[in-house]
Amino acid sequence: MEVVWAVGQVGAAWLAVVFGLIIVPSALGISLGISEAYMWVLVKTLEWATIRLQKGAKKPQPQMPRTPTANGIIERDETPMEKEISLLHRADFEFSHIFYFCRKGFEAIVEDEVTQRFSSEELLSWNLLTRTNVNFHYISLRLTVVWVIGVIVRYCFLLPLRFTLAAIGIMSMIVGTTAVGQLPNGRVKNYLSEVVHLMCSRILVRALSGTIHYHNKENRPQKGGICVANHTSPIDAIILTNDGCYAMVGQVHGGLMGIIQRATVKACPHVWFERSEIKDRHLVTKRLREHVADKSKLPILIFPEGTCINNTSVMMFKKGSFEIGGTIYPVAIKYDPQFGDAFWNSSKYNIVSYLLRIMTSWAIVCNVWYLPPMVRKEDEDAVQFANRVRSAIARQGGLTELPWDGGLKRAKVKDTFKEEQQKNYSKMLVRNGSVG
């Protein structure tokens, strides 16, 4: 009996602390400085760990060129095909061409640009998270002790805390939006719905220990526009709604996600599609167009890549979002992998294990850049416009651009794309070499 009482007291005290120190300030949008202190301690610890590791690894490395591992581990020769082939040109041309293609083939076999993007970015130094530490060898006692402390802190302290916060955040979202949904449509309802959404987003961001830096806030998406961003994880939406209100677009899910969707759509006109409706592209475009045409409605949030990429590159933007019309507000999101890997490899992990990993990482640190709005020019078609927007996002976020389709995660290269490339090569051959 007394045990139950004691546990109850502890539980109540815990909740009080959480409410007082975290929820209320974050709901009001003010910061007590706890997160900043935590991040400072974290950064110092990781720096120390890196130095110890470097001291521990005593192998002399041969001098070889270095590059951030984000873009691969083999040195790629970026010479365009024409230049490289003409350099080797002798009277018999196909011998030189065969070198070129041989090498390209081998490079592709050692490491291909696409598959690389669907596994997490590799870090140059260890961040004390042993998700899988293949190469870990015992470096020093101190490091191991720190690592053990890290595990205890993460699993026994941070995880329950974050879980509590997430639960509170989701519940208040459902309750709050349902309550607001009872009001008649009008300015009061819209205002309150924005307040509720913002508050719950802030709580959820705290639940992930998120530190987000927003840049160029003057370019924030306006009403009646379309916001496009690169996609790395389901958290992207929360990161963006932390700083503004959007109308989400997506498929109707079941379970908890479905409950949230049904509740939020009462308060704010999010656009949720049934599974059958998604297949009909015209229907989708029509609904989105109607939404955009109404200038009093919140901007739509769309992720045109269609799938999660590992945040080192931006893949092909599907042109559907760019055919709707209206003003596009591009946003670039770049996560810092040092503190936690936000990428969701949906073919490897399901959502629950993904959330567990996120909640036991150190923190989610990211930069969000709001880019100036773009409009489709008259002589541009949707695909060119999509590529223009994509370049802007990639340049700002420091990501590479790949012309590949995110769908390659699961499917093979489309034949049309392949033939295009082959035609280019043949055209060039005939121009240069047929004299041979």
């Binding site: 590791l53 690894a57 490395q61 070889m64 060129p65 270095r66 590059t67 591992t69 691969g72 581990i73 083999i74 040195e75 002798r90 018999d92 041309f93 011998f95 061409h97 065969i98 070198f99 293609f101 041989c102 090498r103 390209k104 083939g105 081998f106 490079e107 592709a108 076999i109 050692v110 490491e111 291909d112 696409v114 598959t115 997490s120 590799e122 870090l123 140059l124 130094s125 961040n127 042993t130 998700r131 899988t132 530490n133 293949v134 190469n135 890997d341 590949w404 093979k412 290269v413 392949k418 033939e419 490339q421 082959q422 035609k423 090569y425 043949s426 051959l429 005939v430 047929s434 041979g436």
Partner: protein, 211 residues
């Protein structure tokens, strides 16, 4: 799970491949083989970058060519294991700073031999006109506007050029049988192929990977 360490590698590789590079190649091998111990030709279908390569077939074929695998017998293997994979990859090693003349020469010969095998598809030790034509056609494949005739004339012209280098002026009724490996070496004398036919690894100081 943890990948098992690779078996002791042959001395061919001892020169330039570090243990980290072998680890990376092993991970790549496992990815391609889908966690099996051997790779078959079909496994190379899963590489999108390779789809564009016109001589894709020949490259994949080279991995299973027993001559490249340094096996005594001839013909094609059905499947290769990791050690064979490394053997083929070793043909694309970059040059080391500390190589002497003899090593450089052997190096170069190995790379050219690899290329020779790629052309000589019937394994008879000679590149005939037909085999040459096959290669050119493959290089130009995919372009429907290019007629077979153009491909043929390119191949014939090149073959004549090769013949003239190797045999000198031919008599009117002399038939050039095919390019042997010695002729092949002669053709490439003085041309620096070593820097064109390699894949260079970057220095990756990763101590641990987190994923």
């Amino acid at each position: 799970g943890c990948p098992q360490g690779p078996r002791p590698v042959t001395s061919v590789l001892a020169l330039a491949v570090t243990s980290e590079q072998i680890e990376h190649l092993h991970r790549r091998f496992k990815q391609l083989s889908q966690d099996q111990l051997t790779i078959r030709k079909e496994n190379f279908d899963s590489i999108p970058d390779l789809e564009f390569n016109p001589i894709r077939g020949k490259i994949v074929h080279a991995f299973f060519d027993k001559r490249n695998l340094r096996q005594e017998s001839d013909g094609l293997a059905d499947e290769i294991n990791f050690e064979d994979f490394l053997t083929i990859m070793s043909y694309f090693r970059p040059i080391e700073m500390n190589m002497d003349e003899e090593q450089l020469d052997r190096f170069r010969k190995e790379k050219l031999k690899f290329l020779f095998h790629m052309y000589d598809s019937d394994h008879d030790g000679k590149i005939t006109l037909q085999e040459y034509r096959n290669v050119v056609e493959e290089l130009l494949s995919g372009n429907p506007h290019l007629e077979k005739e153009s491909a043929r004339s390119i191949a014939d012209g090149a073959m004549m050029e090769a013949a003239s280098i190797c045999v000198g002026q031919m008599g009117p009724d002399q038939v050039y049988e095919g390019i042997t490996f010695e002729d092949f070496l002669k053709m490439w004398q003085g041309i620096d192929i070593e820097t064109k036919m390699h894949v260079r690894f970057l220095n990756v100081d990763t101590i641990a990977h987190c994923y």
